[in-house]
């Protein structure tokens, strides 16, 4: 029998499903009985054999009260059925001769619609067979929808014990023993050795029984458990906190050997709440407690309700990852420092021009003292704060970007002790971005400006104010550092500057042109600092996340050690610790990275002499290039 492909579409009526249809899926040519009763309302009755959700088959046949037969006619006699639900229009698209397969389509939404199926809506019905007639289904196949039966098997629970009882240990074996013995007696009257063995086995099994939930709760709530827990958890936490590895092998067999002689990452300080989305503006190590490091943060643009200025004091001695002290104020803090002669005070210079003082003796996180916002003090961001002097006679020096330098007494911040406008050649004031005092000098200092020029200045004396100008950088000067390593020779006339022009330049206060320019960077160099212990070493950080350690005794062309911090975010500040063993860098994401310099920064006694020779070489090579030669200046 062939099915002609005469597609003659005629609506016949609504296909209705009778409740209680069973589910079966018929394949083509399948010889299985399939159930389900469907009725097409109004136009005769169709007995649909099969499940309407899947590959169903149904034929139109001539009901004689029995099962549908092959070749049944289109018209069928009425069959009493219970109408359940309208499924949709049933449409015949094939020939309707007796003996042929009729192709019927019905569009209806499937009762259990999945997103894929409901879009179909059109289910192809194919012919099938019932009652073992063996009629093969023919007809073209259109993809029918099939229902995926989801079966959920709960995961198999592994129970390790075979027994779970609630009776007491002592009574249990006896009872079982008796039962067992009875059984044993019944089954094997002669064997006496078995009960004792089983007895033992049962006893050991009972010892290992599991506690029920109630027992557990009971124990957990008991007073003796609480006291046990209290004591032991305390000891345990202490033991846990000490995670020194006693198996550490100093011969380095397990580690790679290069670990000791290069920059290695030591700590990362970051606080989710206070550091996030804030750029680190300044870092400072405490002179009294070498393990304390203060970092100041800019404002968090994503959190306008949080205080704009934050300063956190971190501790590298302990492993805890939270700051020792959290300070904040209303205006972004752009510079921060520990007050050298007052161990409890932290000085901050803010964007608004105020200088704030935090005290760790008070429990307040807000400043205990503030300078007034007046024209007598600063009205521009204070990018440099520095405490100079001696224990008995010290001053806080602050310079803002409008060229004003103020000197304060830490006891009284209501007005500055003296102010000075830093103007060069009586023209416009200098926009100071960084400042440093040479070691031991309280009168003369160097400042870097936004125009790229560096100036020396004095606080007192006949030449109070700007003294000399040093020109060389092509971009704003971001960092300045005076040579600070104390040794057999004095290099305190040297200073380095970093700038947006991708270079770090080495200067002497005696010459107004740079002695040397370090051009290994490929981005703005944001900060540079001499090592406090090694005469020829300095660190520089740039906007690509690079931290460079230069050792001029080794090489003046490339850094001796260089590392890119994780995440390669721009590094804003670099500070050596007082011992010179650690370098801290602050980045633009609010993270403080502390690196260990290890062997690199250890100064040997001949380093000073070597550095003097290096300087001579530098001057010699550099002097050749410049025809006029550096001008000798009176320092």
């Amino acid at each position: 029998m062939t099915a002609s492909s005469n597609s003659d579409v005629r609506p016949v009526g609504k296909l209705q499903r009778v409740q209680g249809g069973a589910h079966h899926r018929a394949e083509v040519g399948e010889d299985k009985p399939i159930h389900g009763l469907y009725q097409v309302g109004g136009q005769g009755d169709w007995s649909v054999v099969g499940r309407f959700l899947g590959m169903c088959c149904f034929r139109n046949w001539d009901h004689t009260g029995g099962l549908p037969q092959d070749g049944d006619l289109l018209q069928a006699e009425a069959q009493i059925v219970d109408v359940a639900e309208d499924l949709g229009e049933l449409v015949c698209t094939g020939p309707q001769q007796p003996g042929t397969d009729a192709i019927w389509s019905c569009s209806f939404p499937l009762p259990q619609s999945t997103s894929a199926l409901s879009s179909l809506g059109l289910v192809q019905w194919r012919g099938g067979s019932e009652g073992g007639n063996g009629v093969n289904c023919r007809g073209w196949g259109r993809l029918g929808t099939s229902r995926i039966a989801q079966v959920d098997f709960p995961p198999k629970e592994l129970v390790s014990y075979s027994k779970e009882t609630q009776t007491l240990l002592t009574t249990h074996p006896l009872e079982v023993e008796e039962e067992e013995e009875d059984e044993e007696m019944d089954v094997k009257p002669g064997l006496d050795s078995e009960p004792p063995d089983e007895d033992d086995a049962k006893e050991t099994k009972d010892v290992l029984r599991e506690l029920t939930e109630e027992e557990r709760q009971q124990i957990l709530h008991s007073a003796e458990f609480q006291s046990f827990f209290d004591c032991s958890i305390r000891v345990m936490e202490r033991a846990l906190a000490e995670d020194t590895d006693i198996y550490f092998d100093y011969s380095g067999r397990d580690l790679d050997v290069s670990g000791g002689s290069s920059l290695s990452f030591s700590r990362l300080f970051y606080d989710e709440h206070w550091s996030k989305h804030r750029v680190i503006t300044c870092l400072d190590w405490s002179p009294q407690y070498p393990e304390l490091l203060v970092a100041s943060y800019n404002n968090n643009e994503d959190a306008p309700h949080e205080p704009d200025g934050v300063a956190l004091v971190w501790n590298i001695k302990f492993k805890k990852a939270t700051p020792e002290y959290i300070y904040h104020c209303q205006s972004p803090v752009v510079s921060v420092g520990f007050a050298r002669f007052h161990p409890n005070l932290v000085v901050g210079g803010t964007y608004s021009g105020q200088i704030v003082l935090w005290d760790n003796r008070s429990h307040r996180r807000t400043p205990v003292q503030r300078t007034p916002l007046s024209a007598a003090a600063h009205t521009h961001p204070v990018y440099c704060v520095n405490v100079v002097g001696t224990q008995n006679a010290n001053n806080l020096i602050s310079v803002s970007t409008d060229g004003r330098m103020c000197s304060w007494s830490l006891d009284m911040l209501s007005q500055p002790q003296e102010t000075m406008e830093l103007v060069y050649n009586k023209s416009k004031p200098v926009a100071v971005t960084c400042m440093d005092f040479p070691t031991g000098d309280v009168n003369n200092y160097v400042v870097g400006s936004e125009e790229g020029t560096v100036y020396t200045a004095s606080r007192h004396g006949s030449k109070a104010g700007i003294c000399e100008m040093f020109d060389g950088h092509q971009g704003p000067v971001t960092g300045i550092s005076c040579h600070s390593a104390v040794g057999p020779m004095d290099f305190s006339h040297l200073f380095i500057t970093s700038s947006f022009d991708w270079t770090v330049k080495l200067w002497s206060t005696k010459h107004n042109r740079p002695l040397y320019s370090f051009e290994d960077n490929a981005d703005y160099v944001y900060d540079a600092m001499w090592s406090p212990v090694h005469p020829a070493m300095f660190a520089a950080v740039d906007g690509m996340g690079r931290l460079d350690l230069w050792n001029l005794n080794n090489d003046t062309e490339v850094p001796t050690a260089s590392v890119i911090v994780e995440g390669a975010s721009a590094l804003n500040r670099v500070r050596w610790s007082a011992t010179g063993k650690e370098v801290s860098v602050g980045d633009s994401e609010g993270r403080v990275w502390v690196y260990d310099t290890g062997e690199l920064s250890v100064a040997h006694s001949d380093d000073w002499a070597r550095f003097a020779r290096t300087l001579v070489e530098i001057r010699a090579s550099h002097g050749d290039e410049e025809e006029e030669g550096p001008m000798e200046l009176s320092s």
Binding site: L158, S160, V207, L208, R209, E210, L211, R216, Q217, I219, L220, H221, E224, F225, Q226, F228, F229, C231, S232, I233, V235, M236, E237, A239, L240, D243, T244, D245, I246
Partner: protein
């Protein structure tokens, strides 16, 4: 009861801690952060070790008693705080 939970959670979240088990003096686990089979294994074996360790200490000096036991192995460290009625086991990986 809630503080016990909280404390256990805090310990569990410390760096390197693999699991915490509390068991009673018979070696039956009461509370644990490990799966059932490991818990039972640890509780049972440590219990036996504790008995031996305690008896060793007392044999050497009857006035003495075992207060803390640390078993350091290649892969991790098991710290046991025993008591009269219970003991606390913490398994830690110290190099983490």
């Amino acid at each position: 009861m809630a503080e016990v939970e909280e404390t256990l959670k805090r310990i569990q979240s410390q760096k390197g801690v693999q699991g915490v088990v509390i068991a009673n003096s018979e070696g039956i686990p009461i509370k644990s952060t490990l799966d059932n089979s490991s818990t039972v294994q640890y509780a049972g074996l440590i219990h036996q070790l504790l008995l031996k360790a305690r008896s060793t200490v007392r044999d050497i000096d009857p006035q003495n008693d075992l207060t803390f036991l640390r078993v350091r192995s290649k892969k991790n460290e098991i710290m046991i705080a025993p008591d009269k009625d219970y003991f606390l086991i913490v398994i830690q990986n110290p190099s983490d």
